[in-house]
Subunit: 319 residues, 6 copies
């Protein structure tokens, strides 16, 4: 029986049909010397490898990367991973009445709304120089911010993921300064808004939020690129030297450990807090993301980005 | 000119007088074969070594540890540290109208108020088993909680420091679950309330909040002692096995890294968050504590508990 | 020519037949869209993957895990590992006159004999409280001890492996106190008998000695579970607090390094010795286990549990 | 007998006289309640602590830091270190006919000569953009380069030490490209000339080459400051983006390991070579500096900057 | 269209023919129960896996390891690696007029020339004892030196690679002592000539430069074997004890870090320099070797021997 | 009241007299410009610093290192350490009827007895080549073995300490092969007898067992020196190559970790066991040595050689 299933619901032995986005496609030669197409397909719920056996020379060009396709096939298992043996395949067309955006993993809040809320936080900064620098950087970055993910393959690697990350950090920061009242709000908000901003240049992302590292990203990294941007914008605005230095220090130190890219640890409380807020948001995202796929009382598989920990979903989750 | 100064204000060359608490006192023999008394003295602002030269056999018994004394003397420098050469010394008496508690470093909120607020957080826990365990543990611990520090020499090593640490963590936790709504409030609050509770047995503290490690503390540590307490109380109350296990897991994993005493990392989001809330509170305390002694634009000396970082006090602090 | 071979004797190209235990079995779909059964089979000498091609829907239920089967097939090589292509397969039956226990890797001494010897060591403990705790724990654990392995996949991962490990450690301990006469025999024996006892709860094992981690095992680990058991039994017997504390310290510290699960290193000589006796027994087991498969003058493959060392079998082995 | 000795020649028990520079001076109170002056004195060969006992209030102002003084005194030993008990002291005057520069440790080549040779290397760069950036940076930095040390307390911590370090690296680089002909000379020379250039801002040095870290130096470090300078100068000259990026990558990666300040390792051969040339020059300097004080056949004390190695002076040194 | 291509030029989908050396050959059984031959083939430019499907029992003996074969086949991709599906295969014969040496990766200078130049460096050593030891070792080793690689699979793993490594190091050393004039030339040259000499015994290499570890190599390693050789030769020649000790120290310390096999770090400048010259030559070789396969503006894949760095080929390479 | 006390019994404030060995003596100049003698004195129980104030030029020559002196003085405390202010001092003479050996810390068994027992173990080795090598080495080393310590400042740093260490290891080894019967006794005994033998050359010791590192010891270390000795002796006796190699491998690997001097880990069970027997003996010695100075229920100070652990003396020690 053919079922309509999202990728996350696939089970070994299923016969399914559905719409998917083409992430990668390559023509290959099988051991028995025939052409086949090797796909990576995705929808809102995940990714899967697909094989179309016995195809024609050049058929890969029919299904360009980023296009939406309709597929029917069998779910099999290979080396412990599910795979889709494709039986039928065609491009989606207008009659299908599908919207490609419904098949892309994206932040749970609309990009415009997020930008609006972030911009309000910028307005809460009182120091003129800090506000000036942050506002200029955020406005210059708006176009890319609308769809960029926060990473190539780790936490928030989804459309508009970077903005979602910044937004939740701002909300958290606003809460924490109610408890730790000596922290300078302007510096903290600015640090949150700027800390990852050069991921917009470290990565090359398409509008679906799928990213690769850029050349400059590999040779320099978003931390030194971000410091450079603050220097440039600060100089253009004639901002105070102390302020430029502090903002750069926060960006420089926010990864905390040298082996994660920060040669200096935070030397001001606002930098220390920025680091922990960043960690909390990344970890809560990752944990939620992995726990959603299992049942209460179960463990996940070891998760690479969490030092190979297996997470446990408590029986209290139901309550 | 003789000045009334607190220890933090001492400068090389000063002639001062004031009231101090005796922390340590020992009779020693000087190089020229005479007896002298070697003191450690403290007030609300810090500690200092003091020497009373040419004293009598047995004079050390006049100034028992924990007593308040009145002293006059000269501030000198030895190996880069200030020292007090004592010229006059006597026990404080009723005519001095001094309250010893005014000379002890303590949490900035009164112990009774803190306990009241903490107890309200206990009441916010909905799950009966969790609330039952936490309430029993907190009430059993009330007496010691009122004055115990959170450490022998690190963050919150002050009278009632442990309760102050727990309280600020609860306030922070309450804020964070407004942003991370999937986190189980009951588990998080219980984790915060219980995570360090066996510091009450790992340390032996007097009522001034000055502590040493206990025998059991050295051989077992507060983490395994805390797990044991949860087991015992849980069993006495007939609590659910899953809940006992989860609370123990949170205590076990809250130091996060094996080399800091946690053989397991958190496998549930509540444990992850507990760790970061703990870190934030410890670090904000330490940073504030060291920055209060320097001027804007200056750096502190390297701070051992912060990986020998030197902290910077920004020029924005004045605004 | 079809040969009767044990798994350890398999060579690429062999055609073999024999009896094996089903460890795992799963129905899968091959690239050419047909069902096949994917087995893990074992006998006394090792494990091998087996494939039964072109089978029927539901046929996997014919061969339940833990059953003994008779198989005929070809040995092939895949990615450097041997595999069995199954040509014929059926359940063993009474006419085969096979005893499943002959196909399970087990300790080289009978479980009853080992328990008897271990129990004699318990009787050699003179201190009443220590003896009381150890005796109660061992008797409560007897049923599981009879067949539990000492690990899921490392040293002594065989039926009754845990008891074999404890027994050889006791023998070694008894020898060592003849040389190091200041060591307290009671503590040392108790430490050996209790150090791994909660592996009985950390793992879930079937009676063939095949184990998985339990939920509590993953979240808490056998070290803290073992400490908890000593607390409970000690309290039930009203044992001396110092003794309970020392036994817990030995369990807590026996893995020695934080990254292996011991937040404290041994602070008493008996704990230090326990650690080294544990290491010696584990390493001698592992080395013997790997060296038995190669010839004098040869090296083994790199062994994961020995930091990827390759072992050498000396030419003196023959003498 | 009073001898004229340089600091390096001092022995316990000597009575000496000589000229020295005042590095530090402080009025202190001795245990017997009298004022004394505590000096750090230096000459071309080293540093020594000096004490002037029983001095007058305010006498420290007679001997300002950086002044040349004439001293007579006794060499004593304290905690394994030599000390100078000052018997007579006065400022040097014109009649002494001493030149303060003769008492400062400095590079063995004159600053003007070194700058000249370095500038010739700049002229050997063929690529216009690379040469433009390097030339502008070097000319802007000329004034400070003339006397800056390369470090506060490690290798080349002497007057004009930074320029001496750069110069020997250029000579080495020129040699190495004769062997490794694929290396791009322009990039390599530029990397050597720029790699440490912001030590001129990371440190605050006086004209004697004695340095402290600057505020920006502590918060940002010379590596990110250097990258920023290349960005700015590159933009001002409209240089090619690829070239700016490569020069920044070389500066970023020249410390090689994250824990020494380089978040990226070199990804181009020129960067790899820059790192090793830097290491060789620092190590050869340090080794020569320590070996000059001992005799053939002897070992030095453990040297902190060389991982506490003790160096050996071979008997072949005499030949 | 069938093309003549070297292995480095292979692309997925090519149909090629050419001559290759057989590195490994094994008869295996495919999933569909037929024999096939699994080859590792190489030429001057690299290695590739080859499959000959459906072959006869015993056919593997037709193509002995080290023989030159002529092959026609299709290039396919498997798990991201190229593979050759062999359609035709035969041994090369006299009519092919091929010289097997043209298909082996080898140092770019002829072995005889290299030996000649190395021997001249030996003659430049002035100290008689040092020269005596080095000359004896080099002459005894000449036969193997002519073809031995410097490693099994890392840098200079090519025919005569060890000699090429030594030669370039000597050239570099000769240059460096022009800058660092205090370095003892005799010791440095001797260290370079001897440091890896027992790779000739640590590895077993055939005349094509393909090596495996020897038994002694695995149990003792080339460093302690080299020290032993120096002892023996030094004693035979009655050399000075100090000199034997220094040469052994240089060999012992040249890997610098304990985890790379040197229990002592260099304690003499000549040893320090030896280490860095060794590193430079290894790294320049590796980088050149990987960069030759990519275009300017591209990155390589992560390279295991360079800590998984990806190298970048600059756009300046073309100039 | 003047008491006769051993150094271990000294308390601050005591007035004592006794006999001590001069370990170090140096003439120094005090702050008030007078000569004093600075001693290190020892007896069987420990070491103490002593000062003789106001002494004559040249008086240090009266008390040569290694002489026995009679002293009367006051025990004082300085920086937390006890010190002896010497009031009277003279060389011991015949009338004192003291034996200097009674004032030296030494192994608890007589050297001749230990050598006898060790030599019996040599005779238990059956393999002729192994026995030949070991016997020759032990006989050649006999003279030094009689008094050498096993270390300069760590475990067994006492007269005849090395032999005591070897002897207890042999006893332990003999026990362990009763449990681990597959271990080759000849190899194990030989490994124990040879593993530290070149400490006899790595250290320079006087007959009281007080040692310093030799030049060769520092540059090469006892491990490579020991391998060299085995090579030489093995060659002289024409021993089997395999046996020489195995004995060298055991010496090479017995420190186990690269950072402790073993570039290879043991690849044979006899080497593995050697390592653990070595560890056990060193640790049992150290622990006993530190525990003897404290009371049951107390902790020692942190012990450097035990990773700064504090040891606990259990209340069971009394039983």
């Amino acid at each position: 029986m053919i079922e309509e299933k999202s990728i996350q619901e696939f089970k070994n032995g299923d016969e399914i049909q559905g719409f998917f986005i083409v992430r990668k496609v390559e023509m290959k030669l099988s051991a028995n010397n025939k052409n086949f197409l090797d796909f990576t397909l995705s929808d809102k719920t995940g990714e899967v490898n697909g094989k179309l056996w016995d195809c024609q020379e050049g058929q890969n060009k029919e299904f360009p990367i980023g296009s939406l396709i309709k597929v029917r096939g069998n779910v099999t298992e290979w080396k412990g991973k599910l795979q889709l043996k494709i039986n039928r395949i065609r491009l989606a067309n207008d009659d299908d009445k599908q919207n490609i955006e419904d098949y892309v993993q994206a932040a749970p809040i609309k990009a415009e709304e997020m930008f609006h809320e972030i911009y309000e936080y910028v307005q809460k900064i009182k120091n003129k120089d800090i506000k000036g620098i942050v506002e200029k950087v955020i406005l210059e970055s708006k176009e890319k911010l609308m769809y960029y993910p926060a990473a190539k393959s780790l936490h928030h690697a989804i459309r508009s993921g970077l903005m979602y990350h910044i937004l939740r950090m701002l909300r958290t920061g606003e809460k924490l300064i109610e408890v730790y009242k000596n922290v300078n709000k302007d510096l903290l908000f600015a640090g949150i808004l700027l800390h990852d901003i050069e991921k917009l240049e470290e990565l090359d992302s398409d509008e679906l939020g799928i990213a690769e590292y850029s050349k400059e990203g590999q040779l320099l990294g978003h931390i030194s690129m971000g410091m450079n941007k603050i220097s440039r914008v600060g100089q253009e605005l004639g901002a105070d030297e102390e302020i430029i230095m502090l903002l750069k220090h926060m960006v420089l130190s926010h990864h905390y450990e040298p082996e994660f890219g920060s040669p200096k640890k935070p030397m001001i409380p606002e930098g220390e807090l920025l680091h922990y807020i960043d960690m909390i948001d990344a970890r809560m995202y990752d944990m939620e993301d992995h726990l959603k796929n299992i049942q209460p009382g179960e463990f996940t598989d070891p998760i690479w980005s969490l030092d190979n920990r297996r997470l446990y979903k408590t029986l209290l989750c139901d309550e």
